[in-house]
Symmetry: C2
Subunit: 232 residues, 2 copies
DNA sequence: ACAAAAGTGTTCACGTTACACCCATGC
DNA sequence: GCATGGGTGTAACGTGAACACTTTTGT
């Protein structure tokens, strides 16, 4: 039950969002971190994030902070968990709604925004020491990503719109940290009927050019309504 | 990045918790609702919940509200999602961290607390009209419960400590809304080795007394570390 | 011609599904 | 003795895992 805020007697915790932004490049999965300009944790690495304003939703706040601090615009974004330990910020009671986000590094090179003196992509092992409880947030985000990858088609967010099956397999291997069998992987993913082959192949490779595919989102939604579930 | 709250220029949203408490009785799965004493949504049904205090964590706030409004003490509680739409409360900007909770109705009969004029258990179809965006919260909670039930052993939270395989199967059928094959269900769950048969049988039933089991939490954790995953 | 990655099928083991009858107990 | 739910095995089927060679392209 919600008492009338006009008569609400308690002090309010502050409310922030923090974002774990994952990107995939040719080598491996990376996470975006910001170097803090101010205390506490001055000059330490931290997740991009900031205070939620009263006139924006949580999702909007997360997108705004990502834009302001990293210049990133079009990302897949999903709420992760809300962190409310009492002492997670040494200055004040701050509750933070954490998000994870996925982006394709080939199409979106990083440009640091104005809020941060530095921003950079870091490989996952090891992740540098992080401010606040950001390591816990990061760890939870990675676990969620690994989990969701298995039963929802979110991996495509980390790839360019047109991709090869080898790229897709590589993505799964890098994120899950285990090798997969090429033939079985292809059989399984193609049988799902959510990938459409394009009338186009790889260019400028010094080996046999691979078929390019795109993920058919509409087809996926259609199948999902009939009880189909993506699983790898 | 988190600016110093001392110099923080923005108004703070209010922060609440709301709980979707599920209980299972002999007939079906039920949800606990509170009748609101005050406007807005006066006399409508709502989820138990209330404001988060600065000196308590989110989990503590959820447990406190459950205790105050329903008298319930020992529950399985897990954070669900944080709702931050701007107009979800007509009076003020209120962000709410939603939880879902599971309880065994046989061991814990309801006693309404002081905060609510009425509280009651409702079957799920149909759920009555709810205040605020509580229907969305409820719907998400039910989906989460159904999803988690399949790959985590949380169902036992809805049963008494000692239960029969038929009770367990009934729980799965009621929550997932589909019939299961008795022999296959038993084979599968027993093969997991997380149920221990007790030296005890049902009493006072007018048919063959069933074997009682308990869930072996320690064994489950042990198996889980070796890569085992509960699945039904 | 050689290096490099693309592409392709079959076999086997295992897990999932479907299915029907006898047993113990209380009334 | 009858009504009620408890308890059990097997066969067919489908899915997942293991595994190696030929093709295409650029240099």
């Amino acid at each position: 039950m919600v008492p009338d805020p006009a008569t609400y007697p308690y002090a309010r915790p502050a409310l922030t969002v923090d974002c774990v932004l994952f990107g995939l490049d040719a080598e491996d999965l990376k996470v975006l971190l910001i170097r803090r300009k101010l205390p506490p944790f001055q000059d330490q690495w931290a997740l991009p994030g900031g205070f939620v304003r009263v006139a924006e939703t949580l999702d909007q706040a997360a997108l705004r902070e990502l834009r302001e601090e990293t210049g990133v615009e079009d990302v897949f974004l999903e709420q992760l968990y809300t962190f409310g330990e009492i002492d997670r910020d040494p200055r004040d009671r701050v509750v933070s709604v954490a998000y994870y986000a996925l982006i394709n590094l080939e199409d979106h090179p990083l440009e640091a925004g104005t809020d941060a003196s530095q921003a950079g992509w870091f490989p996952l092992d090891p992740v540098p020491a992080l401010a606040f409880d950001h390591r816990s947030i990061f760890t939870l985000a990675l676990g969620r990503l690994q989990g969701k990858l298995r039963y929802e088609p979110i991996g495509f967010e980390l790839l360019p719109a047109k991709f090869t099956l080898t790229q897709l397999q590589g993505l799964y291997e890098k994120v899950l940290g285990q090798p997969l069998d090429k033939r079985n992987f292809r059989k399984k993913i193609l049988k799902m009927n959510v990938l459409v082959p394009l009338a186009e192949k790889q260019q400028n490779v010094r080996h046999r050019a691979a078929q390019l595919y795109r993920f058919d989102e509409a087809r996926y939604q259609q199948l999902r309504e009939k009880g189909f579930s993506f699983e790898l």
